[in-house]
Every structure is written in C-alpha cells, then in structure tokens.
Symmetry: C2
C-alpha cells in the first residue's frame, strides 16, 4: 500500500472511504478561531461543509459565536437538543440561516419550534420574503442579504432600506446585513472579493443609517477571502470549507496540501495503459464540482503530478507519467469541493496517528430544506 | 404556482423535492424494452440510475434479463430477498457488476453470500483482478472489460486473451466481453460510439476465438448509443439513464423534454435583478455534473429559454429575459445527470395525474462499494 506523504492510512481500509484526519482538522479549526479572535471579528462557521454535530461542538468550544447554516433542516439537526447533554460540551444555541428564505407554512411551523432550542436569525432579500415571516416575527431576527459582486442572490446596497421597512412593519428585528463573496473562488481573487464584500456591507449600513435603521452586524466571509477581512468593518465571518479544505483551496493558493483534512481513500482498480490508472472514487463520492481553473476532478495527496482527467460515477481516471501506484494500492484523493463530497456519504471515518479513532455521522446530510 | 407545460404538479409541494412522473417513466421503460425485444438484444438495465427496488422490479416485469450494477453494494440491495415476496412480482435473480472489480476479503465474503440470492457476474480488466476472484471462482461468472474508445477502464481487444487465460486457470467461467461507449456523451456522437462499441466487442470475440475461448456475450450500451445498436452483433445492452432521462439526453438530442420523467420541484426564492432569479435547488439536489457542451446546470421544463447559469449548493441562478416565474412560484428543474441527482436524496416522490401516489426509497443510495 502506498503511504501518502505525511499521511498514515489505517490498515484494512474498505474503499472508497471518506476520511477525516483529526490532527489536521483540529489545526484548521484552531487557526481560524485564532485569526478571528485576533482580527476582532466574530466567527460563525458555516456548518454546510461538515454537517456533523461533533464538529459543530468543537467549533463552539473554540469560541465560535454560533453557526451558519443554509437550511432550516440543518439548523434543526445541529441546534442544541431539547435535553442538555451530561458531558457539558458547548451547545449550539445561536444559528443564522444564511439564505434568502422563502417561508411557507411548513417552514414557519418548524422555525416556531426551533426557537425554543436556539436563537434563530434568517436571511431575506425581498420585502415579499420578509412579509412571509410575519407569523414568527417576534421570535426570530433577520439579516438582509446584499450582493457584493457574485451575482447570485442578495440586493444591491441601495435597495436594503425597503427590506428594512418591511421588517419594521411586522416588528421583525433587523440584525444587520450579510453577503457571500463567492467570486473569491478564482485564482488571485480573494483579496479583491474581500474588499468588495466590505465595501458593499459598508454601503448597505450607510443606506440603512440614512433612513434611521441600525445595522449592528456586517457578516461576510468565504474561506478564500477569510484571510483578507482584517482591517475591514465586518463584525462577523462565516467561512465553512476551512475546517477540511479541499483541492480548490489548494489550487487557489489559499492553503497547502498539508492543510487538507478530508480525503477519500481509493483503490487502484485498473491500470489499462501506461501512464493511466483508475480509482474506485467516482463522482458519487468525490462530487462532480469542477471549476474552469481546476487542474482536474480533485488531486492525489501523494502524487502531486497526477491529474484526475476523467470522472464517472465510480471511476476516477488519473494520468501520471512514470511509475505511480500499483494495481490494488490505496491512495488518498482530495475532492475539489469538500462540501458536496461530505454530503454524499452517511459517515466520516476519523483517523488519527494511522488508526481509525471514531466515525461521525453526517447528521445533516441531504437536509436540503 | 406556475404549472409546467404538460406537467401537473401536486399542490403543497415542499421544495426542493425530487419527483418521478410515473406515466413518463413507464413509457420510457416500455419503449426501451420494446426496442431491445425488436432488436433481439437482451436488456440488462443499469440500476445505478434509479437505485430503487420498485423500478428494478418494473424492469424485470418488462422482460429485462437481469440488472447491471456498479458495486457489490448495489447488487446486495437489489437482488432477490432471502424470502420470496407474497405478491409474486418478478425478482432480480441475475446481476452483472459491470465494473473492474478489485476484490478484497470483504468483497469476496459478500459475493460468496450474494450468490445464494442471484446469479452474479463480475467484470475484470486484468489477470491480477481475475486471480483475486479465486476463492469464489466456481460461484460467479466473469466478463472481460474492453475499451472501445472512451479511455476509462477496459483493455484493448488484443489483450483479452491473457485475462481469459487467468480465468481458465482458476476455473472461473468466462461469459463474454463488455464495454461502455461513454464517448456517446457528445452531440452527434451516439451512432459512431455504437459502431466503435460493436467493433471492439467483435474484435475481442475474434481474439478469444483464435485462442479457443468462447465468448457468448457481447454487452454494451449507454442511453445515447442505445438506439444505434440494432444490426450489431451485441447480445446485451445496459442503458441506465433511459428510465428517467435528463437535460444531457435532451441537449444531446437523444430524447425530447416530454420524455424526461424525473425533475426537481424548486421554489423561486429570490428575484434580485431583472432577467435573473434564484431557485432553492442547488448542487446538493441537482448534482454538479456539467459537460462542456451543456447550456447550463440543468434545464427548466417550463421555460425552454431559461438558462441555469450558476449553481451553488442551495442556489440555482437562472437567467431568462421577459416575465418568467414570480417569487414563490414552484418550477420543475431537469438535472443535467439524473444518476447523480437520484443519489443525493433519500427518496423519490412519485407523481401521477397531479397527485403524489407513492414515495420510493433510493434504497441503494451511496452504495459506493
């Protein structure tokens, strides 16, 4: 078995298996916590990346203010349980659904139950969406989503006031404004995205102030832009990927391969031609995300010159000149986008010092609503 | 609520929801069965697309010879249960693991139990892989994988004999040769891929014959190449996607939008700018597959001019000039690649005549091994 550089793979792995390297993960968690503390910006990690109760509690223990999630379902699974735990580990009691929620009766009912377990804030980017929160307007807080250049959801800073007025009208507390600088996902774009993020949030705050609205929170942050938010006026950052990192972050230059804490163990099942081999880790375990600037469909931790040139559901086709791993060898594959890779498996196999030390359920897997 | 052209969406859908339109699916199943019967080629549908026991039984009832699967796990879940069912519906008793299996002790143990429930054939593309089947060589059959131009796994036709010899050496029955003409997934490429498939399988058969090996089965078939296998020497075809179809098949010209039987119901959660709106169906429900020739990340059944220009985990960004759907409307999104979309959800909501008539568990979801 090929032992990846710097990695100790447990014996007898059954592939494909999604592994978390505990020491690397803990280092990543601690580093981002320290950065946020040092920058005097509250850290509210996005839990869509890991979807694990175990990791949520580690983030809270390291000083996170609360969690960000994308769906009410993720919030339901990760919020403090109805009964306090005996071990006294920190509970998740503050959750921001960082999404332009369109609340129907089902979501209203679920949110109205959820507020007993955690302080809940939801996102909105239209007066219409705000008005739908009327049945729970006294029980939740709201953040207005601003677009800082990505062109996804969120309004321009000029438009925030009408949304604030809609909230005021139903007595819904406005916590502030948020944005996602997702255009940081391009080589060299992190610093500029962070500047645009800060500028958009600042302008939104100014527009709100002119109409007499307070804007206590300016919340932003993606992993590629995270290190550039120091010296900005942000009050909160919401990176998600940093807990594990992935091939995208490595190829963007955000982190080194040694910072990647989640990999898929895969077996070389076929070597049909010189310079080409096939792994049993396909798109149903790695995910199919592949930005235009990526070198391929993920990276091999052990073989920096290898390129994953093709990906099917159960085949990753790798090109590598020279010897490479042999038929039957197990190698470690770094997914392009760890958030979608985690969502594909029921559990994460936690590895430390070359042994399996735990198995964590991906508790909020497929909690898409 | 916008009612898609030709589609009747049930009231009160909670989005995102992965819907199967029963009438369309049954039409697709019947059409492929009739085609195969007419072409005198055995149909062994690939179950990786649907992963549902209910659909497997429908395929068997319509005359399928058995199923293809990609993993032993899929076979375990879809094979005839230990106890016969009372309703007498057709069981799956013949399964081909159409994959270059690298069998370790765990897989050998599982295969040795599985042969009590179904006739099992496995794929191999190296003498080394064949030799690993020695402990179960009297209980399973083997097919040699041939590459017909895709450049994934599989050997060239010239190399099949050494694999046949390895099988003979351990008394493993060789059923024949198989290939996957995946290069059919390019506009206009279906007919040529089918010709190359037939040629490669024919050459492999000839090479085997020269060394005295029989080659009863020549198995091929992808959905884009399926309609081109008439008049070939194939004995078996293994299309998978045809049961549902998807945006890829529509954009390849293989089928019409009316043939698409699986769609994701999604809500318009944001309309941040004229000509742009955001749906709550992201890559965690649609899948991130996006071939270079696709118009976007899926299609809207109702809005042929709409383009899904951006996809994040919980956002599909759609561009469409003119009116389009309103905030809160529910629309039907056709995923690019239905096999990965199905694998993302625990269940499929079966719709007929505008009502939910059933819910099918995606029983073999994430059965990646």
């Amino acid at each position: 078995m090929a032992v990846p550089v710097g990695l100790d793979l447990p014996d007898g792995l059954r592939t494909p298996a999604t592994l978390v390297f505990a020491d690397r993960m803990e280092r990543n968690l601690a580093a981002m916590s320290a950065f946020a503390r040092d920058a005097n910006i509250a850290l509210r990690p996005h839990a869509k990346t890991h979807k694990c109760r175990e990791i949520a509690r580690l983030q809270m223990a390291l000083g996170a203010r609360g969690l960000s999630v994308a769906t009410v379902g993720e919030a339901e699974i990760l919020a403090r349980p109805g009964n306090a735990r005996a071990d006294g580990s920190p509970d998740v009691t503050d959750i921001f659904v960082a999404y332009p929620l369109w609340a129907d009766k089902d979501l209203i009912d679920r949110l109205s139950r959820l507020v007993d377990r955690a302080r809940i804030t939801v996102g909105a980017d239209s007066p219409e969406a705000v008005r739908r929160l009327a049945p729970i307007s006294r029980n939740v807080q709201m953040m207005i989503e601003v677009d800082c250049g990505l062109g996804r959801s969120g309004v321009s800073p000029e438009e925030v006031t009408k949304i604030a007025r809609a909230a005021e009208h139903i007595d819904l507390e406005l916590s502030g404004v948020f944005t996602f600088p997702g255009h940081s996902y391009f080589p060299g774009a992190g610093a500029r995205a962070a500047r645009e993020e800060a500028a958009a949030l600042g302008r939104a705050k100014d527009f709100l102030a002119r109409s007499g609205f307070e804007c206590a929170e300016r919340s932003g942050g993606s992993t590629p832009s995270a290190r550039h938010v120091r010296e900005t006026d942000l009050t909160e950052m919401r990176p998600g990927v940093y807990v594990f990192n992935d091939a995208q972050q490595v190829e963007l230059g955000v982190v080194e391969m040694e910072d990647v804490a989640l990999m898929v163990a895969a077996t070389v099942v076929s070597r049909p031609a010189p310079g080409r081999f096939v792994l049993d880790s396909g798109s149903k375990v790695l995910g199919a995300d592949r930005p235009s600037w990526a070198t391929g469909h993920g990276r091999l931790a052990d073989w920096p010159d290898a390129r994953v040139v093709g990906l099917w559901e159960h085949h990753a086709v790798v090109e590598l000149e020279g010897a490479g791993p042999a038929l039957g060898d197990i190698v470690a594959v770094v997914p392009n986008h760890v958030c979608t890779a985690v969502n594909l498996v029921p559990e994460l196999v936690v590895v430390d010092g070359g042994s399996v030390v735990d198995v964590w359920p991906v508790a909020a897997r497929a909690a898409n609503r």
